[in-house]
């Protein structure tokens, strides 16, 4: 959590696929649709590139929420990429829930290149939910906290 004017700010890592959701984020930007600065975007070629290692590494390093954005199933630039991502993330996040990690810390969202408004709405909603949960205590690595 960043110490920003003394109220806790959540840190959110967003993996965005280059062809759709990253373009959606750009559209949200060009339409000046704001969302919290706590959301930091990492560009990946496709949502199927996101490895569970990256997600757990993000939580370990202090992220409070991780969201994976990809193209709508059927619209993937690589035809089948997001189908695999859909299965992997469903199983992974169901396992994290099984281990007692709060469900609202993880999320998958399909955003097309034309849905700037949706991207901004999703990020605002996700950021507020994660902030409501408070600091990530269950998947934290104390060595990474100051």
């Amino acid at each position: 959590m960043q110490e920003m004017n003394n109220e806790k700010r959540p840190l959110i890592v967003a993996f965005c696929c280059n062809w759709c959701s990253y373009a959606g984020a750009d559209l949200a930007g060009s339409s000046r649709l704001s969302y919290p600065a706590d959301v930091k975007i990492i560009r990946v070629p496709c949502s199927c590139r996101v490895n569970p290692m990256f997600i757990l590494k993000a939580f370990q390093r202090g992220a409070d929420g991780v969201i994976i954005c990809g193209c709508h199933p059927g619209d993937c630039h690589y035809t089948t990429g997001n189908y695999y991502a859909r299965r992997r993330m469903s199983l992974l996040f169901s396992m994290l829930d099984y281990l007692g990690i709060e469900r609202e810390r993880t999320r998958v969202e399909w955003v097309s290149a034309a849905e700037g408004a949706k991207f901004s709405a999703v990020m605002n909603d996700f950021a507020s939910k994660v902030a409501a949960l408070g600091e990530n205590k269950r998947l934290e690595d104390l060595r990474c906290k100051e």
Partner: protein, 663 residues
């Protein structure tokens, strides 16, 4: 030793307004490995790039980070800049501090803090970049045009003109599309057939163009330069090579009750028919649902009559596979269905028609041989009322939210032609706003009002109901603030247009992105309007958005120019960020090949020295760099991490995660 240059762009005030660019540059200068950190107003400008070039040369930089706009915008530009300064183009990383930072955060400190974090993340990634060289793949010198309307025809002609082979795949029995159905075309009122059929004939005679009608795309594999497309040639039960188009079979065919789709179902056609006189190919086709022979084995008259015995009842669908370097989507449009608009009585009253049906009624080759009559009793209509924006500009869910762009012009055209041919007919047009922008368009519309006396009523029609034989059109007249009811003989609806329904299936096959209204999304709305973001796929005509014939033709020729630009290359630079397998870690378990959408992974047995002079052969994965598109699905299914992606490697992404989360 890493020598990294950081270049922070102001982007005029786009970034500098909410991000303290000086502070970003200063903080990033302290990052380990950074030797130079500069800011400039317009990094993508000529002297911005010169600044980068000189910095690379003077400091012998091993990599650069540009904090600027989205990589989707100028990554290619800055890679070229680096390459021209002798630096490998893939040693460039972009931090998106405009669309994803300065434009969406108002507070200066917050935005600056975020820009610094994004900069650090790009630096962390750059440190793990390796110089990459993109491989090359051959280009098949043939283009595919999906759709045979004016868009497809124009693109095909221009591509063939440049000397390349083109295949047109058209789903209906003839090329010509919707334009062939029109009577006259605006703004110059020349007859549609007169300007279209010569182009259709050119297509048929051009030896570079191969026309496949009554065919559909079955599957598309591969990628730009190397598309493998399966085309289903549906059975037309007539041998195209033999049939001379004499039409004898059409007269003799006893089953005459078929709905003539070409005339929008306003009249009938026999089971075996040629869609319209100037059809290309001018070859008959049998409708299997209507032909007695195909349905229950009786009849067979047409086969007997045909002198060149071109009829073959046993013809089956045939699938052929061909390779293409580029694909042009020109699937065109169709009017929306009006089932959600029963307030206009389209389904209940026969004399409420759509504009396309009116085109057929007015067309000399139409069901009424050019004599405008009412479909119900074939009498001449004395009062005709047009209704604009039926289903367009409608966000209530029944229609389309967009303006269909062409209805104002073609309605003015219809009104003008009717007033000219039948001067004593009253013509009223209910409109919201008449949109006739561009050269000679508004003058055309004003001629309809001033010279031909068409009555334009500003206001929408509430409902249409029948009363003692007349169609009562009740609408509001906002200028006179009255509710007017016009008893009319014929009501014409300017229905909204929507893309051809088959486009969604085609978009999935060619992985072109498509929006919620089923229009294909262009690579860039202003700068790259005729290309899809998917390389090698081009958009021609209404499949990309509502447009009229002049715009369609200009977009079709633009597509052709782009295709010729692509096909003229012998080799195509492939994507350099492809997967590669670390042979020491790979166990050959072949889990990765299961997920590769392009079949780029094969397995080879390789000799490995295992010490002591002995060797063992092991089964390892090998990636065909020309086929791999770099999606990364295989890197996650590979448990040992042997499979990794150049440019987006596991370590690079983890480094970005660390940089972002570091406090």
């Amino acid at each position: 030793m890493q020598k990294i240059g950081v270049f922070v762009c102001w982007c005029g005030s786009n970034i500098a307004a909410t991000v303290d660019v000086k502070k970003v540059a200063d903080v990033l200068r302290l990052e380990p490995g950074v030797v130079i950190s500069e800011t400039y107003q317009y990094m993508c400008s000529e002297n911005g790039q010169a600044l980068i070039r000189n910095a690379i040369k003077e400091n012998g930089l091993t990599g650069i980070v540009v904090c600027s706009c989205s990589p989707r915008m100028h990554e290619a530009t800055f890679r070229k800049t680096a390459e021209s300064a002798g630096l490998n183009p893939y040693m460039v990383e972009i931090a998106n501090i405009r669309e994803q930072c300065s434009w969406i955060h108002k507070d200066m400190d917050e935005a600056t803090e975020k820009a610094i974090v994004l900069g650090r993340s790009a630096i962390a990634k750059l440190k793990l970049n390796a110089p990459l060289t993109s491989g090359e793949s051959a280009v098949v010198k043939r283009a595919l045009v999906i759709g045979g309307g004016i868009a497809g025809i124009q693109s095909a002609l221009d591509i063939a003109e440049a000397g390349y082979e083109v295949d047109i795949v058209e789903s209906s029995a003839t090329i010509g599309g919707n334009m062939a159905k029109l009577d006259k075309t605006f703004p110059t009122l020349d007859c549609a057939a007169c300007i279209l059929t010569p182009k259709m004939v050119d297509c048929a005679q051009n030896e570079n163009i191969d026309i496949m009608t009554f065919s559909e795309i079955e599957s598309v594999k591969g990628f730009v330069g190397n598309f493998k497309v399966q085309i289903r040639r549906k059975a037309r039960f007539v041998d195209e090579k033999k049939c001379t188009g004499c039409g004898v079979c059409m007269q003799k065919c006893p089953s005459k009750k078929g709905k003539n789709e070409f005339n929008m179902g306003l009249n009938n056609r026999p089971a075996i028919y040629i869609p319209f006189a100037q059809a290309i190919p001018n070859v008959a086709i049998i409708d299997p649902e209507q032909c007695l022979k195909l349905k229950n084995g009786k009849c067979g008259l047409c086969a007997m009559q045909c002198q060149v015995n071109a009829i073959d009842y046993t013809q089956k669908d045939e699938i052929i596979e061909r390779e293409y370097g580029a694909i042009v989507v020109a699937t065109g449009y169709k009017p929306i269905s009006l089932e959600n608009f029963n307030e206009y009585g389209y389904d209940t009253y026969k004399d409420v028609v759509t504009s396309l049906e009116l085109e057929r009624l007015m067309n000399a080759a139409g069901p009424s041989d050019g004599h405008l009559v009412r479909p119900s009793d074939h009498k001449e209509p004395k009062v005709i009322t047009f209704i604009q924006c039926v289903g367009s500009r409608d966000t209530s869910g029944c229609g389309k939210p967009y303006c269909s762009k062409i209805c104002c012009m073609y309605t003015a055209k219809h009104a003008m032609l009717i007033r000219e041919k039948y001067p004593d007919t009253e013509v009223h047009v209910f409109y919201i706003d008449v949109r006739t922008p561009g050269k000679n368009y508004d003058e055309f519309f004003r001629r309809a009002v001033e010279q031909y006396g068409v009555d334009y009523i500003k206001g929408m029609v509430g409902k249409v109901y029948e009363e003692n034989g007349k169609l009562m059109v009740q609408g509001s007249d906002l200028i006179n603030n009255e509710q007017v009811v016009i008893p009319s003989d014929l009501v014409v609806l300017a229905a909204a247009i929507e893309p051809n329904p088959s486009v969604r299936k085609i978009a999935t096959m060619v992985t072109a992105s498509i929006d919620t209204n089923n229009f294909l999304t262009e690579a860039h709305a202003k700068l790259r309007p005729v290309e899809s973001p998917t390389a090698g796929i081009f958009l021609s005509g209404v499949c990309q958005g509502p447009k009229d014939i002049p715009e369609t033709v200009s977009q079709a020729s633009a597509c052709a120019a782009k295709v010729v630009g692509l096909l003229s290359k012998d080799k195509l630079k492939c994507n350099a960020c492809v997967a590669h397998s670390d042979e020491t870690l790979c166990t050959g378990c072949s889990v990765c090949a299961n997920v590769c959408p392009y079949g780029a992974i094969t397995y080879v047995d390789k000799e490995f020295r295992i010490g002591g002079g002995k060797t063992e052969t092991r089964r390892v994965a090998s990636v065909n760099e020309a086929v791999c598109q770099g999606c990364g699905a295989c890197t996650v299914t590979c448990p040992s991490g042997a499979m990794d992606l150049k440019g987006f490697s596991n370590k690079q992404i983890m480094a970005e995660v660390d940089a972002i989360c570091k406090r």
